[in-house]
Amino acid sequence: MKDAPPFLQLEGIVKRFPGVVALNGVSLEVRAGETHALLGENGAGKSTLIKTIAGVYHPDAGEIRLDGRPARIRNPHDAQALGISTIYQEFTLAPDMSVAENIFLGREPLLIRALSIVDRRELIRRTRDVLTSLDLQIDPEATVRHLGVAQQQMVEIAKALSLDARLIIMDEPTATLTSHEIDRLFETIGRLEQRGVAVIYVSHRLEEVKAIAGRATILRDGTYVATVPVASTTIDEMIRLMVGRDLKEKFPKVKVAPGDEVLRVEHLTRNGILHDISFSVRRGEIVGIAGLVGSKRTETARAIFGADPIDGGRIFLHGREMTARTPADAIRHRIALVPEDRKRHGIFACLSVHDNVVLSGLRQFSRRGLLDVRRARQRAQEFVSSLRVATPDLDKWARDLSGGNQQKVVIAKWLNTNAELFLFDEPTRGIDVGGKIEVYRLMGELVSRGAAIVMISSELPEILGMSDRILVMRDGRICGEFDRADATEEGILNCALRGAA
């Protein structure tokens, strides 16, 4: 076994798209039973690489070997037959079918072959076998829609195993999981390793990579940089390999003397969801809100922004109560919401960068009902330049920008409405390391100009690095408050998990 060739070997893979070389001579080697991290900034070529392995793309040059023998992966079906399964960020389960039906979709055990009648009992039995082998407590007959995200992911893994997968590719598997669920995922990955299944683990979260991966391969701008043993490589070193330069500060924190109170929330309540939430934010201040996924932080921001109804409590802006309760009212009161799910709530994917930037503030360009198109364009150009949005021109579709640049476009939209209070919900989710720092710098510029920021984040280093004050939420309540000076990861976690400061 020692001398057996690695399960998967890629050599000199080249993949070109019109106008870009997405992969330029990339190599990768994954051994059986190994969890191999794939690292790189957005646009480094990780997605293209995993899609090449999964048979979605065909390399223009280079070789793929499985068990040492050259392999041709013509389509995802081929990949599956060769023992390669991929779990994408967006799951491919049929939400209205049962767990069992999903796991054996297209391969159902049949009772009467000629009539394609499914042997339900056998189906359930086999499903239970697969689930037990992973030590998962999921009802085979449950409807997938009613499972949580973490459990749906486990169903995907079980499905891959039932296909006799020898390599499972996981694309940002922890993006939507709570820390407890992440632990469960890692246990499952451990079990996969024991069975000799290889895992390619794609993630921006380097702490997780440290915890779970054996080796890591780093890509930059479509080229292979290095493969390193994770245990003996520090996170800073990994970052340096990813960005190709030293990052002096991960969190460029700007200290601003706080000014007048901008927002005060008193006893905000939404039945069954938010309970008696009170806090305030002053000019120049960044107030971080930490907590587990599901602690209702997003709901708090949406309630303040008027996107969700409230059942009680009051919201004051500059000391005056805000009574009107729609997003349009909030915007008029100079509140901005940079939402967590950029694709769904933030960006107009098939509208131009220009339209995305000016949309919320169109009123100011309106003269007797007609828009002053030239002035709107000028303004959009100003924001694109000052925020250093990397786009060839204003007419590029927003969906063609990287995550970090999309986020800048969303922020530009709110600068154009003269927002003074920014509610940032997971501002750096899905953004690469370099892009994150750009977003942090922007936050610094905003507070320097007298804006107030509420920042919801699940990444504790981000919370600790950027906030002046930290609120911790749990089950729709604020359960603790820390000053920048005396906040620690342990303290915040303790509070978020147990509800005690």
Binding site: P18, F305, A307, T326, P327, A328, A330, I331, R332, L337, P339, R344, H345, G346, I347, F348, A349, C350, L351, D355, L359, S360, L362, R363, S366, G369, L370, L371, V373, D400, K413, T417
Partner: protein, 298 residues
């Protein structure tokens, strides 16, 4: 797409030189003016992420209302009543879609059936003849060398273009169609603007209905069958996206021209109308297929 239109014109022109005659060109433009007006309204509906299946039936309802009011009250009153009937039906569509939140496909499908029923009920199922002579001018008259329906359609295109590109309403139509949830969170009153979309579509159908009534010189409760489908085809053939957010007056104009020139040209080269339908059907699917293939390659 412009290349396709030129190619079609060249081919038809070389087979039958009559294609290029002033009379024929005037005819084509007059014929397609009705479809053009309906497609304009449809463009608003589809761009906003919805659809308006009722525009064909609205032609009939508008025609009957227009003819009845014209006979009862006079020329101007009849025209006004016709256009308003379209707008009112659009308002009902809009209320059902924006306030009751019934999906546009279903709401306007209901209106498709109901408006036809209303047209038949009001007219007793019979054409309404005996309209004033002056009214004929709208359908058959000219301004200079241009047929009046053509002039109206061109004016409507310019107006729609200005609305879509130069007003807040227009830009919000794109935003809603691109991402409705993000539109709400960007402070756009989506419900109100949706209503406005269907009122706009209804008003364009109203104008189209009045012109069509003038061309057939009577109120007809059976006008406009399947025209809603041709208007949808016109929007998507040119490159408008069926799910909204992408497209505009330019692409719709292309679609209308392709359908119009094709219909006229195939007639001139004596392809039977049965076969014409097969060709048009294939073109609708083919055009969208090419468009999607191109987008996938981006």
């Amino acid at each position: 797409m412009p290349a396709v239109i030129v190619a079609l014109a060249v081919v038809f022109g070389s087979i039958n030189p009559n294609f290029w005659s002033a009379t024929n060109l005037a005819n084509v433009s007059r014929q397609i003016s009705i479809l053009a007006l309906l497609s304009l309204g449809q463009t608003f509906a589809i761009l906003s992420g919805g659809i308006d299946l009722s525009v064909g039936s609205l032609l009939a309802l508008v025609s009957v209302v227009c003819a009845q009011q014209m006979k009862a009250q006079g020329l101007v009153e009849g025209i006004t009543a016709g256009v308003l009937a379209g707008g009112l039906a659009g308002l009902v569509n809009g209320l059902i879609i924006a306030r009751a939140r019934v999906p546009p496909f279903i709401a306007t499908l209901g209106m498709l059936v109901a408006a036809r029923g209303a047209a038949l009920t009001l007219s007793g199922g019979l054409p309404i003849a005996g309209l004033p002579r002056e009214f004929l001018v709208i359908g058959a008259g000219y301004i200079g060398p241009f047929p009046i329906p053509t002039v109206v359609a061109v004016a409507a295109f310019v107006l729609a273009h200005v609305i879509l590109s130069r007003t807040r309403f227009g830009r919000y139509v794109y935003a809603m169609g691109s991402n409705e949830e993000a539109a709400v969170l960007s402070g756009i009153n989506v419900a109100n603007y949706k209503m406005l979309v269907y009122v706009t579509s209804g008003l364009f159908a109203g104008i189209a209905g009045v012109i069509l009534t003038a061309r057939v010189i009577s109120g007809q409760p059976t006008l406009g069958e399947v025209q809603e489908l041709y208007s949808i085809a016109a929007v998507v053939i040119g490159g408008g996206r069926i799910t909204g957010g992408v497209g505009g007056i330019g692409t719709t104009l292309m679609g209308v021209l392709v359908l119009g020139i094709l219909g006229n040209g195939l007639n001139l080269v004596q392809v039977s109308s049965y076969v014409q339908n097969i060709v048009i059907g294939a073109i609708i699917v083919g055009a969208v297929w090419i468009d999607l293939a191109r987008e996938r390659r981006r």
